[in-house]
């Protein structure tokens, strides 16, 4: 909000050298944890995120069971040292809300009706946070689900579009977010471009919003390619291993 702070310079470069519609550097690795049925590690900019999947397995507590389908229970957790001011360990209201909307987004692609009464448990741990953790967590979680062999309609790439200095900027980093005027996290099903997660905070005109949606959907497709790459690498490793035996 402070007009002295410049988020985009004369040449259209952002504080970290990106253009307006550039994603931060991103890295995804599938199958990183031995115990989980599926897992993924993701870095985007300075975010470091682990996702793990257990299930389908018996649903506890039992009164949550749905006789017609599996329920998807995501727990998003920020580790205490992941932010500059230490976060008290344990759940809080923010993580409860994020867990809920990520659960809903994942439920939209999992073929839950194949597993009546079961629970599909998704754990997202934010080890280092730098704006955009809910999107990073969801992107990682859908890779972990695929790694677990979960029957799914598609993966779910996710990213936020922000507004700072009056300009729409893709995938805000922490510094941009702190001085930003709006943030719009979204997630899509790439095969159909359906939107399965959408939030907005701040101030946008209708025109800005429509433009931000377009940018976000396009970026989700970029991320989708990286998700598929990670799974391909994981799969080929699996192949090699099998060959080795």
């Amino acid at each position: 909000m402070d007009s002295d702070i410049v988020m985009v310079d004369d040449k259209g470069k952002r504080v970290d050298g990106r253009e307006a519609n550039d994603l931060r550097p991103m890295k995804i690795e599938a199958g990183v944890l031995p115990n989980a049925d599926g897992s993924a590690y993701l870095e985007i900019g300075k975010n470091k995120v682990l996702a793990a999947v257990y299930g389908p397995r018996e649903c506890h507590p039992r009164h949550l069971q749905d006789p017609t389908k599996a329920i998807v229970q995501c727990k998003y957790n920020m580790q205490s040292y992941s932010v500059s001011d230490r976060k008290r360990p344990g759940p809080d209201r923010r993580s409860a809300e994020i867990s809920k909307i990520i659960s809903e987004a994942l439920e939209s692609v999992i073929l839950t009706e194949l597993f009546p009464r079961a629970s599909i448990d998704v754990y997202i741990e934010i080890m280092q946070a730098n704006a955009g953790t809910r999107c990073a967590g969801l992107t990682a979680a859908s890779v972990a689900l695929a790694d677990a062999g979960m029957p799914m309609r598609d993966l779910v790439p996710s990213v936020a579009v922000g507004k700072a200095d009056g300009k729409l900027l893709l995938d805000l980093n922490k510094e941009e977010d702190n001085f930003g005027e709006a943030d719009l996290p979204l997630a899509i099903i790439p095969k159909t471009d359906e939107v399965v997660l959408l939030q907005m905070d701040g101030h946008m005109t209708k025109e800005e919003f429509d433009s931000a949606m377009k940018t976000g959907v396009a970026a989700c497709h970029e991320i989708y390619e990286m998700q598929k790459d990670a799974l391909r690498r994981r799969y080929s490793v699996g192949e090699e291993e099998e060959v080795e035996e």
Partner: protein
Amino acid sequence: MSRSVVSEIRRNHINELLRKGARMDGRGPLELRDISVETGVIDTAEGSARVRYGDTEVMAGVKMAIGTPFPDTPDKGVLTTSMELIPMAHPDFESGPPGGDAIELARVVDRGIRESGMVDVEKLCISAGEEVWMCFLDIYALNYDGNLFDAAALALVSALKTAMAPASNFDKGEDFPLPISCLPVTVTVAKIENTLIVDPTFDEDMVSSARLTVTTDENGDIRAMQKGKSGSFTVDEISEIVDLAREKGEEIRKIIG
């Protein structure tokens, strides 16, 4: 809200009606229920409002006190929003700590107020870094028949709009109206099969696949959004919903003046 299941018969009935453009309570898909707003209903609150959207009924109260600001915003007053889904309001609501639904509701309503900048929190600073006004915004659902998002937001906006800071009680000069800079209004649209409907009832909410809540201001700008449930929207549907939220928001804004 998890225990309720709408019977297959009712679900089919809702769907069939909607295919003909009709709803169980006689409304068209894009019609709001009757909305009533009473303010100043609680003497012990600095501001209060009782809002009804059809059978959905919500109370909001604003209490103010003097406290110390957060270290990173030393010159700003503090807003704290809570929302209680008390078991009086619906057979599915249970006593105990707020669950995921209540937390989401409170956070979405809170963001609608906070991110819109409705309350000019800088004017709630008494002495930077030392004394600021704390505003406790508490919402209780009294009867739940769907669309608590919009009813709760409207109750809170109405309570804030009519609140008087009790400065004289704290020897801080004369009482003054809360500094209000805009009137954000929240509109929720649900999707049933491929039809969009505004202001869903409880049964409609149960049957719907997805929900989008949009808060807009007097200029028709967007101040907050929240998509809910495990269904999806197309990008076009979302654009259409935003336009609906601006239009219906204007309609509702007239009620609260």
